[in-house]
Amino acid sequence: MNLLCVGGSFKTMPIELREKLAFDGPKLPAALNELASRYGCESAIVSTCNRVEIYVARAGAPTAPDAELIAEFIAQFHDVRYDQIRASMYTRTNDAAAAHLFRVTSSLDSLIVGEGQIAGQVKKAYEAAHVAGSAGVVLHALFQQALAVAKRVRTQTGISHGHVSVSSVAVDYVRQVHHHFGDKTILVIGAGKMGVLTLKHLRELKPERILVANRSPEKAQAVAQECGGTAIAWEQLDDALVEADIVLSTTGAPEPIMPRRRFDAILARRSRGTMVILDIAVPRDFDPRIHDGDRACLFNVDDLKRIQEQTIQERQQHIQPAEAIIEQEVKRFLNDWRRKKNGPIIAQLTQEFERERQRIVTELFAKMNGKLSEEEKKHIEGAFKLLQNRFLHGPISVLAEDTPEPTQHNLLDALRKLFRLER
């Protein structure tokens, strides 16, 4: 298939270089067109913030495009000196290139293993190649299979289970407690940076109202305005806690603002369900002893980070089964490809022999007219068929074998010449 992958990722390339080599916006179709016109090959470019990779293929040719040339093209296209990028580029060919794309798409080669974005980015790269007309028979098959493999890895292993950002983990916890959010009140205490990010995620739950409490009324007003909430006076904090279903606390207070006794008094006044408290302030705002999982679920920064680390660790356990799937899928891809490529010639060869055998047998039966019984005819026909199958078995098996690309190409040529098959 003469497949080649040339590129660099966060593992081999610093971010400054990755930024320079990004194929974003109009650069992508331009580069795809340029590759096709310069090297006459199929091409697709995967360009994300963590990697820049060019996949090229030449289905019918004896060799793949030269890796050095493709790397030089990348440098030239971005006005970067080639020697500046040479050491950080890697090259993969044929089955190794297919395996690499499968690993990338399945997020095994990502900065955070199992992250869900990369499959979408590979899909976009494929669509861009499709639109530009630079994806041919090899890259169509390769990218389609890569996306299917990523889906299989995602569903058959736990590689993408759980969330890995603190704010997503916080929202996951909220979802374990509450189901409907249209009747829920979110109370934001303080105005920490981390809190703003988490609040952004919480707002996506579309709560009934957001209350903002801050020691500084101006700050409370500013945060409330930003998130479409209502600012309340700091003195109303306890009343707001009685009404709140989800609390996001991010003050910079040096001491906990909510000791257990004060919180117990608030709980006694509550008639609402479980309160989820996301205490992401350091030092902590709420006394950790108030967590009982029933009336109040308290999660602080350490809890959320612990989950984040556990999730990442948990995902590591799924790498091996995911790699096994990829190995299996690469084999399947190569076999499918070989079958697809050699299928027509095998069919042609078999048809040719079949026609010749039938002609010879018919002529023989005509010459022996009347002298052969039906059973003898069957025996003769069977013997010729057996001879044909035995004769074809060798060449067909050799074609199905896993031979390197130039040898495979020579074999096909030889077969065509030896058996006078038309192209």
């Binding site: 569903t155 058959q156 736990g158 289970h161 759980g162 969330h163 983990v169 996951d172 916890y173 979802r175 374990q176 407690v177 509450h178 189901h179 409907h180 008639s271 369900g273 479980t274 967590h291 009982d292 999982g293 029933d294 009336r295 679920c297 999660f299 809890d303 612990r306 989950i307 556990q310 999730t311 948990e314």
Partner: protein, 267 residues
């Protein structure tokens, strides 16, 4: 000669549910969607065998064995329905052990010669209402067990999305509340029709100490307490779950003992 449905035994559907439960356990340890689909398929086959058995054997639903097998059947239907609608949730792990337990009890208390107790209008009404209430109580029990497991996960601050997949506390509480609200009127009506049945048989208040009658009255009282706690005292969550579980235990006691008109204390 026996026809195919007549050859179906309790073992056929119990084994199907047992295999489905094993597959659910396997899925918990090594998540594979195919395991869920196979479990669902096998449970479907079990349901078919179950309904065929109930139809062909013509078990009186007023008998302990008939009632237990019928409730088990409804719960198996509930499992299949929920597993289709909310495939993410580990229904099998909670519903199937209950189904298997009820079937096991049904076999244990089987009476080969039950008296026909459902012949009068009041008999049919009483039995049907209590069976429907039993389904509600059982679903409330499942929701309560799930609630307590989810609560335990939250108390231990286990990572969300790993291990068992369950509904949120709010949703489980809602499910429990709905089951109670469904069961209570049926139970009340069932109890009243039981008195009507006694009047019909001219034995009103003749046997107050029959365990079945006592447990049904006990069940009604627990439900009354449950509703009082929920709507008057605004007790929620964990306590509600425990009360529902107590109600379920009383229900099982009520179902296990024979009906007064089915070989029980009354003539």
């Amino acid at each position: 000669m026996l026809t195919f449905p007549q050859k179906i035994t309790v073992m056929c559907f119990a084994a199907s549910y047992g295999v489905a439960f094993s597959l659910e356990l396997w899925h918990l340890l090594r998540p594979r969607p195919i395991l869920r689909y196979v479990a669902l398929g096998i449970s479907g086959a079990g349901l078919f065998a179950h309904i065929a058995y109930l139809t062909v054997q013509d078990l009186p639903l007023g008998s302990p064995s008939g009632a237990l097998l019928f409730v088990a059947f409804i719960l198996a239907v509930f499992y299949v329905g929920e597993a289709i609608h909310h495939g993410r949730i580990a229904w099998g792990l909670f519903v199937l052990p209950l189904v298997l337990g009820l079937i096991g009890l049904g076999v244990l208390v089987h009476n080969p010669n039950p008296a026909a107790s459902w012949q009068s209008y009041w008999g049919v009404t009483h039995g049907a209402l209590l069976l429907l209430a039993a389904v509600g109580v059982s679903i409330g029990f499942i929701a309560s067990v799930m609630y307590l497991v989810q609560l335990r996960r939250l108390q231990a601050k286990l990572p969300p999305g790993q291990g068992l997949s369950l509904f949120s506390l709010e949703r489980l509480e809602q499910m429990n509340r709905r089951a109670i609200l469904w069961a209570f009127p049926l139970l009340t009506a069932g109890l009243l029709s039981g008195f009507a049945l006694q009047i019909y048989n001219d034995v009103l208040l003749a046997d107050w100490f029959n365990p079945r009658i006592l447990s049904v009255i006990g069940l009604w009282l627990v439900f009354a307490i449950l509703l009082y706690l929920r709507y008057r005292v605004h007790v929620r969550g964990r306590q509600m779950a425990w009360w529902t579980m107590i109600a379920f235990v009383i229900l099982v006691i009520a179902l296990v003992f024979p009906h007064p008109f089915d070989g029980g204390a009354m003539p």
